[in-house]
Symmetry: C2
Subunit: 313 residues, 2 copies
C-alpha cells in the first residue's frame, strides 16, 4: 500500500538555500509526486537538476506553476510582487501558495492582490538558515527543531493551513501561527536588528587601515568573529528584508541607539555602577534562552558550518 503524497506537484519559485532544503525534504519523505522549480539563472537551474532535487527546472515561473497544487515563493522577497503578478493568472484552482520570506506584512501586501479567487495563500517563515547561499548549500535537516511561523490572513481555508502545517512538521519544525504585523515586530528585534548591527560592525572594521584590519582578522576570536558569520549572510535577501520591514526595524534601531548612547555616556563619565547593573541584567536573558533551548531542543546538526561557540575576552 503506497502512502498518498501530501502534494501532487510542488513548484518552487527560486531554489536557493531555503527552497532547495525544503525540496530535499519533499524528496526524502516522498511528500510530492512531482517537484519543479523556476530560477532566472541558467547556473541555478542546472545545479538544481544536477543535484536531483527537482524533476524539471524552468526559466519562466508561469511554466513551473502550471498544474501545481503547491507553489513555494523562495526568491528574495523584493521579487515577490512581480512574480505573483506573473504567475497569478496561471495558478490552478485550489492551489496553495506559500513563501519562506523573513518579513510577512510586506509579503501579504505584495502577493495577495495578485492571487485569483480559489487560490489559498498561507505566508510562512522558517526560522532557519546558514550564511551559505545557493541550491548546493541546502540540506534537509536545516529545519529540524526550528520554528516555522505561519501568518495566514483571517478567513483562509483551514484545510490549506493544515497542509502547510503538515509540510513543516514533516521537515521537523515546530509551527506557530500569528498575525503578520506581530511577526514583523518580533523578528525585527530577534533577527533583523542583530543582522543590521553585525553588518555595521564588520563594515566599520573593513574601513580601518589595511594593517589594522589584518590584525582585527587575526584576533577576531575575541568576539568579532561571531559578527562576521552573521554579516556573511546573503546580501540581496537581507537588503530586501530591511527595505520591507522598514518601520519595525527603524523603531528598534532607534531604541538600540538610545541605549548605546546611554552606555557611551556612562563609559565617558566613568559610571561603573550603570555598566555593571546592565551587564548583570543581561545575564538573565541568557539564562532564559538556555532554558528555552533545553525545553524545545537546541537546534540542528549542521554538517558544513564551522562551529564557533567561543566567547572571548
Amino acid at each position: 500500500m503506497t502512502k498518498t503524497p501530501l502534494f501532487n506537484k510542488v513548484a518552487f519559485i527560486g531554489i536557493g538555500l531555503i527552497g532547495s532544503s525544503l525540496a530535499r525534504v519533499l524528496r526524502r519523505d516522498g511528500l510530492a509526486a512531482e517537484v519543479v522549480c523556476s530560477a532566472r539563472s541558467d547556473g541555478t537551474r542546472d545545479k538544481a537538476m544536477e543535484l536531483g532535487i527537482v524533476d524539471a527546472a524552468y526559466a519562466d515561473a508561469r511554466e513551473a506553476v502550471a498544474g501545481a497544487d503547491l507553489v513555494v515563493l523562495a526568491t528574495p522577497i523584493g521579487a515577490y510582487g512581480a512574480v505573483a503578478e506573473q504567475i497569478g493568472p496561471h495558478l490552478a484552482p485550489g492551489c496553495i501558495v506559500t513563501d519562506v520570506g523573513s518579513v510577512k506584512l510586506a509579503v501579504v501586501r505584495d502577493v495577495d492582490p495578485h492571487l485569483p479567487a480559489g487560490v489559498h495563500f498561507v505566508p510562512g517563515h522558517p526560522i532557519a538558515g546558514t550564511e551559505h547561499s545557493g541550491p548546493e548549500a541546502g540540506f534537509p535537516e536545516l529545519f529540524r527543531d526550528r520554528w516555522c511561523i505561519l501568518t495566514p490572513l483571517p478567513g483562509t481555508d483551514p484545510a490549506a493551513v493544515d497542509k502547510i502545517v503538515a509540510l513543516w512538521t514533516a521537515a521537523g519544525s515546530k509551527v506557530d501561527i500569528m498575525d503578520a504585523a506581530h511577526h514583523d515586530k518580533v523578528l525585527a528585534i530577534t533577527s533583523h536588528l542583530p543582522h543590521l548591527i553585525a553588518y555595521t560592525i564588520v563594515g566599520t572594521a573593513d574601513d580601518l587601515g589595511e594593517h589594522l584590519k589584518q590584525e582585527v582578522i587575526k584576533y577576531s576570536a575575541s568576539g568579532f568573529r561571531d559578527f562576521t558569520r552573521i554579516a556573511a549572510s546573503d546580501p540581496v535577501m537581507w537588503r530586501d528584508v530591511f527595505l520591507n520591514n522598514r518601520e519595525a526595524v527603524l523603531e528598534v534601531v532607534q531604541r538600540f541607539t538610545e541605549d548605546l548612547t546611554a552606555l557611551q555616556r556612562a563609559i565617558r563619565w566613568g559610571e561603573g555602577d550603570t555598566l555593571e547593573a546592565l551587564f548583570t541584567r543581561t545575564r538573565g536573558i541568557r539564562r532564559s534562552v538556555i532554558d528555552m533551548q533545553q525545553a524545545y531542543g537546541s537546534g540542528i546538526a549542521r554538517p558544513d558550518v564551522p562551529k564557533t561557540g567561543e566567547v572571548d575576552e
Copy 2:
C-alpha cells in the same frame, strides 16, 4: 632525571575562569613546584583548594606572594592598582609579575609604579574565555591554539619575557608581542565593541514588555542568541574593561554609530544599492577570518559550552 619546573612558586591573585585555567596548565605540565592563590571570598578559596589546583589559598595577597618567583594578577583589572600597592613591598627580588587583563595601557599605568626595582613586569592578555565565571569554570585547554599578547615595556629583562612566552607556549597559545597602546586599539574593535553592542542589544530586548520579551527568547535562534552568549560574560570584568580602555572604546563606538546612522538613513529612504553594497563587502572579511582560522587553527575544544553556530533568518 627530573625536569626542572619553569617556576618554583607561582602565586595567582584572583582565581576565576582565567586564573584557574592557567593554574590547571601548571599542574598538568608540572611547570611549578608550588602553586598558591589569594582570593577575597571564602567560597572561592575553598573551591580552589577543593579542585586541587592550588597548594594553598590566602585571603591576604601579601602572604600569597611571599617567596614567589611568578605572580599572576588575575582579578578584574579595576583591582590591580590596589593589589600592586599592597604586594609591591613583599615581592621577592627577581620575581616576575604578569597579568591576564583585557586592557594593557591602564594596567601598566596602575601596576608598574608600585613594583620595586629588580622585579620584572610582563603584562599579558590571553585572548580566550567563555561566558562562565569562577574557578570551577576553568579548564586547561582554554588557551590552546589561541593568541596571547604580551606588552612588555621597553627595557624589560628579555629573560623574564622569555619565561612568560614559555608559559603561554606550554598552555598551547600562540604568543605575540606588541606595545600596550596598539593592543588596546586592536582589542577595542575586535572585542570591546562587540561586547558593548551585545550588552546593549540584549538590554534593549530586556526592556520590552514581558510578552514580547518571552517571544524574543523563544525565537532567539534567528540571530539574537549569539548576542546573548556574549552578553552573559562577567559583569565586573567587563565594567573594568570599558572604564579602563575608555578612549579607544569611545573612538570605535563613535565610528560604529556613524556607520549605523548611515544604514538607518539608507533603510528609511529605501536606498537598496547602499545596503547591498555594504552587505556584499562584509562577506570579504568573513572569508579572511575563515582563511585565518584554517591557517592558524580554529580554536579549542570547549566541553561545557553549548554549540551555537547557527546563523538564521
